[in-house]
Amino acid sequence: MNTDVIMAGFGGQGILMIGTLLSIAAMEEGKSVTFFPAYGVEMRGGTANCTVVISGEEIGSPVVGHPKSCVVMNGPSLEKYLPFVQKGGNLILNRSLVDPARVTRTDLNVLSIPANDIAREKVKTPQLASMVALGAYIAVTGVVRMRTLFDCLPKVVSKKYERFIPLNVNALKEGESFARNRA
C-alpha cells in the first residue's frame, strides 16, 4: 500500500490537524508516513495545506507533485490543486464553500460533500467541517481504519478541548456515512 493526499483550505479550518491525525493513525498501524505542512510567510488569513504520504516501505519524497487524493476545503485550494491530482485520483470537495461545477476535470473520482453544513447541522459544531471531510476521505480510500483515528484523537486534541473528542468522533462518522451513502 502506497498512497498520498494533499489537504488544503483556509487557515483556521483545521487542515493541519486532520493531516496530523491521519499521519499518527497510519503510524500506529505500523506504516511509514510523512506529513509536510505549508509553513512560514503565507498570506495572512490565507490558505493552509499539508501533504501526507503513507506507505508500507521507506518513504522518499514527503512532497508530492501529483497526489493520489486531494481534500479541498475552499475555493482558492481547488484552483491551486485541481490540475495536479492524478488521473483517476480522488477529490474530496467541500461543497458548502465550493461550487462543484468548478471541477472542470472529468477523470477524477469526485466526492462533493457539504462539510460545513454537516458539521453545523449534524455535529452541531461548525468548526469540525474538516473532520467531516477526513471521515469522507477515509471512507473513500480506506487508508487507515476509523477505529485507529478515534483512538488517536487524544494525541491531536489539546487537553483544553478533550471533552470535544466525542464530537470529533461524530464528525468523522458523519463524513464517513455521507460518503458511504453516496457511493
Binding site: V41, M43, R44, G45, G46
Partner: protein
C-alpha cells in the same frame, strides 16, 4: 466609478490617497499596519512628495509594502533600513527618504543602525510600528513585548529577570543630539488617528526643512499573534500599552543647529 451616492452627495470627503495603490494588502483583519500605511500615503500626498520619494521597506509584516505604494522603494535587510536610507539620502539629498520599521526590525536587530542614524542627525523620517511582537515570523517576543506577555518564545510570559524590560524607543532616541523630532502616537481611536497624522506631518516637515532625524513611534496591534479580536487588540493599546508607552512628543527641534 458610477454610484448612487455621487448623485446626491457630490463632494467626496474621503478616498484612497493617490500614493496608495488600489490593491488589497496581505495584512490580517484589523491589523493597524493598514492605518499607518494610509496615514503615510496621505502625508506623502499632502506634501506632494510622491514623485521625489524613495521608501525603504523593512523585513517584517510590512516587507511587501512596496506593493502598496506608488513610489520608488528599496528593500533593506532586517533592521538595516536606517543604513540603507542613509545610503539613499547621502546620494540624493534632495529626495524625500523614509523608512517604515517594526519593533523587531528597529528595536532588536536594527538597534545600532537606528541609534547612529539618529545620532548623526541623518535627515530621514522613520515610521516605527510597535506591536510588541514579531508579527511576520509568528509572534515571538520582541524587545518591546510587555512584562508578563505570553508570546511564542516567552510561553511563560516575559520575565525581566530573563528577558529584560520593554524598551522605550521614542524616549531613548529623544536623548540624542541628532534627533530633531521624536513622538509616540497610537491609531486606536479617531482622535488618536488625527494626532498620529499631525505627528507624521511634523516628522515629514523636519526632513523637508533639513532639520535632521525624525521618528514617529506608532503603538499598533497584532490581533493574530496576540490571539485577540481586532477590537480587543485596540483596547489593549488604549490600556496596558499606552500605560507603559506614554503617548506624546518627546523632542521637537525648533531651529536647525546650522542656519
Amino acid at each position: 466609478m458610477k454610484n448612487k451616492a455621487k448623485e446626491k452627495f457630490t463632494k467626496q470627503v474621503f478616498s484612497r490617497p493617490r500614493s496608495l495603490l488600489d490593491v488589497s494588502t496581505h495584512y490580517c483583519p484589523g491589523c493597524h499596519h493598514g492605518i499607518a500605511h494610509r496615514i503615510l500615503a496621505e502625508t506623502i500626498d499632502h506634501f506632494d512628495l510622491r514623485e521625489k520619494t524613495i521608501g525603504v521597506a523593512p523585513v517584517g509584516c510590512a516587507v511587501l509594502m512596496y506593493d502598496y505604494f506608488d513610489v520608488d522603494f528599496v528593500e533593506a535587510p532586517h533592521g538595516r533600513a536606517p543604513a540603507v536610507a542613509t545610503g539613499v539620502k547621502r546620494a540624493q539629498p534632495d529626495r524625500f527618504v523614509f523608512t517604515y520599521q517594526g519593533d523587531g526590525d528597529l528595536a532588536a536587530i536594527g538597534t545600532s543602525e537606528i541609534i547612529h542614524a539618529a545620532n548623526r542627525g541623518e535627515n530621514l523620517t522613520v515610521l516605527f510600528i510597535n506591536n510588541t511582537t514579531y508579527g511576520m515570523t509568528g509572534g515571538q517576543m520582541a524587545p518591546t513585548t510587555m512584562l508578563g506577555q505570553k508570546t511564542s518564545t516567552s510561553p511563560y510570559g516575559r520575565d525581566f529577570r530573563n528577558d529584560g524590560y520593554p524598551i522605550r524607543i521614542a524616549e531613548m532616541l529623544a536623548t540624542l543630539e541628532g534627533t530633531a523630532f521624536s513622538a509616540r502616537v497610537a491609531t486606536s481611536t479617531p482622535a488618536q488617528i488625527r494626532k498620529a497624522k499631525e505627528a507624521v506631518k511634523k516628522a515629514f516637515d523636519m526632513q523637508i526643512r533639513g532639520m535632521g532625524f525624525s521618528i514617529v513611534e506608532i503603538l499598533s496591534t497584532c490581533p493574530t499573534n496576540w490571539g485577540m479580536k481586532p477590537l480587543d487588540a485596540q483596547k489593549r493599546v488604549l490600556g496596558e500599552m499606552s500605560g507603559y508607552y506614554p503617548l506624546g512628543v518627546y523632542k521637537e527641534r525648533k531651529q536647525a543647529d546650522f542656519a
